[in-house]
Assembly symmetry: C2
Homo-oligomer: 378 residues x 2
């Protein structure tokens, strides 16, 4: 009789429609029957990406799509600028270095957003920069970067903008075309409400030129192969048939809801979570740039952060996330995205109150839930 | 009221236990709960691979695991020998070339198995060959290569043996350790009875040395990262949680049956299919080296091969495979692996008889089914 609640920034809970699609008998991928599914999923992705560009589906995690971005855009000895303000910003740097790309870094303090002016300065100082790699929502800190402003800066340069939207896509607004995002990468297990296993990547006409000229060695993630296959409504290698079938269902749900309503729902959940955190006397980790995707809060003095997360998960079946790397034991993170709604947040806050109380942290019991309810009533 | 039958060499039909596992609510991957699943799946893979070596699970199709083999073993300007007797042998060559590896090729006539003596000769003639890439069951032709004999030849050289066992693993015998296979790659959607989306790769101690020294650029498929993660019962990037959970179920079924019984079942289905093909007056495409995984038969004169496959699929919901590339329209392929059993084969043959008759091909109706029944009665 244990009931699980998942409030982690990936994976996120699966809607029943997705679970049903995951359990269907499989069909062959090189058939008109599967092509119809792939076509609908691809069109749905364009809707979610808010783009007219091609969006490719890769059988990989989101990191595979990030690798595809780096190796298809740049060659060994090219120069990239990476905005680095958390674990996933650092991943862009690691990827570039693995492929011999020279990296300039803007090191943003963890918990802060990048100042677009700093990007402008770097681009002016080094005209060799061919691509800027940034993170929309930095999942490790909960910070959201202003992609519209970043895009406006980069649009006026020769450089190209690549955005890691793995945790943000389908949760908060990302206008791929309007904001001049040349490449956007994402994954399946966040806002898109699916199990992990799919990576997505959109490419602008400006990006296509770089893809054709990149000298980086590549095969599995070669987007020239992906383009050739997509033109025949196929994937270059065996499609992840089941996940793509479930993707179609998830995107159908999202189109029915409408992106605008989805973003409003996410914002409300984020506001409620932030209000609850404050009402419990806790401090937001990113007070000036907290995303509507995931909220990070500091572990208060005297509380064992790792134990807090473990107790919620192993004793009460409410899974939130702890801190990663340098933030291990110092923060906890509550996701409010995908198939998470109002009463999941209430449950998460209630369980947090319960375990904090058991751990000796003092606050008026019910204060967090009350603060969240006030937001949801609005 | 349409009932689907899948007799393709990947994907193969999903057992109910796998479909049930695919439909479960998701859990987080960095939890003791998921680690227990990953541990059981990894141990099950070692059983299926018949190895004591590490077996890594990659979020990719089988081709991703092939790429992992090439880039982790070899560097640009290294020399490889590729055994090429079909579409998937050619893939090894394409992969090597994409990463600047010099390739020597043994071009085996499509439909024939390689002669291990030819490998011995090549190795003697060119001591620079660091690795031999071969295919266990060449899915495009139905041919099986004698890996035991190939392993015996290579063991006495400095070269290393890498085997594409994507369609063979869990269907026919492959003694990774006993036959000295340094690297074996496989995928989820064949003998392992899962949807596509997972790649597997086993590495011998001899292979580990090359992995440490390879200068090929790599990140997502870097097996040094995979090893580091596996030692902590983790994967380097977000695990394909749902597929790995289903993998555990499939491997549990396989352990309960026992590999030996599974191989006997596959052989019987293959014998029955081959007997049926002959009884219909059709010709095997690979009479001297036909695998127990998939049977390829020549399309008889006067029959439109593509129409045959399409009619079986679109009119009668029985999906078999046609020929690929140069064999398009010239052969059809019936898979007998994974969660396919006796009466699926009877169904496939019966549907083949029906459509061949409708297309004007002459034979004694029922002859194929009778021949298959005779084998199954033994």
């Amino acid at each position: 009789m244990r009931k699980n609640y998942l409030l982690t920034p990936g994976p996120t809970p699966l809607p029943p429609q997705v679970m049903e699609a995951m359990s269907r008998p499989i069909i062959h991928h090189r058939t008109p029957q599967f092509q119809a599914i792939l076509k609908e999923a691809t069109e749905g992705l364009k809707y979610a990406f808010q783009t007219k560009n091609d969006v490719f589906i890769l059988s990989s995690s989101g990191t595979g799509a990030m690798e595809a971005a780096v190796i298809n855009l740049l060659s060994c000895q090219d120069t990239a600028l990476v905005i680095q303000g958390g674990k996933f910003g650092e991943r862009w740097t690691e990827l570039c270095k693995a492929y011999g790309v020279n990296v300039e870094v803007i090191d943003v303090e963890w918990g802060k957003a990048v100042n677009p002016v700093d990007i402008e300065k770097k681009l002016k100082a080094n005209p060799k920069i061919k691509a800027v790699f940034t993170t929309h929502c930095e999942t490790s800190t909960g910070v959201v970067n202003d992609i519209a402003a970043i895009g406006a800066v980069i649009k006026n340069s020769d450089a190209l903008l690549a955005v890691d939207a793995i945790s943000s896509l389908g949760a908060i607004d990302l206008k791929t075309d309007e904001w001049a995002c040349d490449v956007v990468v994402s994954g399946s297990q966040k806002g898109l409400m699916l199990p992990p296993g799919l990576g997505f990547i959109s490419v602008s006409p400006k990006a296509v030129k770089l893809i054709e000229n990149s000298k980086s060695p590549r095969y599995y993630f070669d987007l020239r192969k992906a383009k050739k296959a997509l033109d025949k409504m196929d994937t270059p290698f065996t499609s992840s048939i089941t996940l793509i079938t479930a993707l179609r269902e998830a995107l159908k749900m999202m189109r029915e809801d409408g992106l605008e309503n989805i973003f409003i729902r996410h914002k409300k959940m984020a506001d409620a979570t932030r209000a609850a955190i404050k009402a419990l006397g806790l401090e937001l980790f990113a007070p000036t740039a907290s995303s509507d995707v995931v909220t990070a809060a500091k572990i208060p003095a005297g509380v064992d952060g790792e134990k807090l997360v473990k107790t919620m998960r192993d004793t009460y079946d409410v899974t939130i996330a702890g801190g990663q790397e340098e933030l291990k034991g110092k923060i906890f993170r509550i996701a409010h995205m995908g198939f998470i709604e109002e009463f999941d947040i209430i449950t998460g806050i209630s369980c947090l109150e319960k375990v904090l109380t058991q751990m000796g942290y003092k606050f008026p019991l019910g204060a967090g839930v009350k603060a969240a309810e006030e937001i949801f009533l609005k």
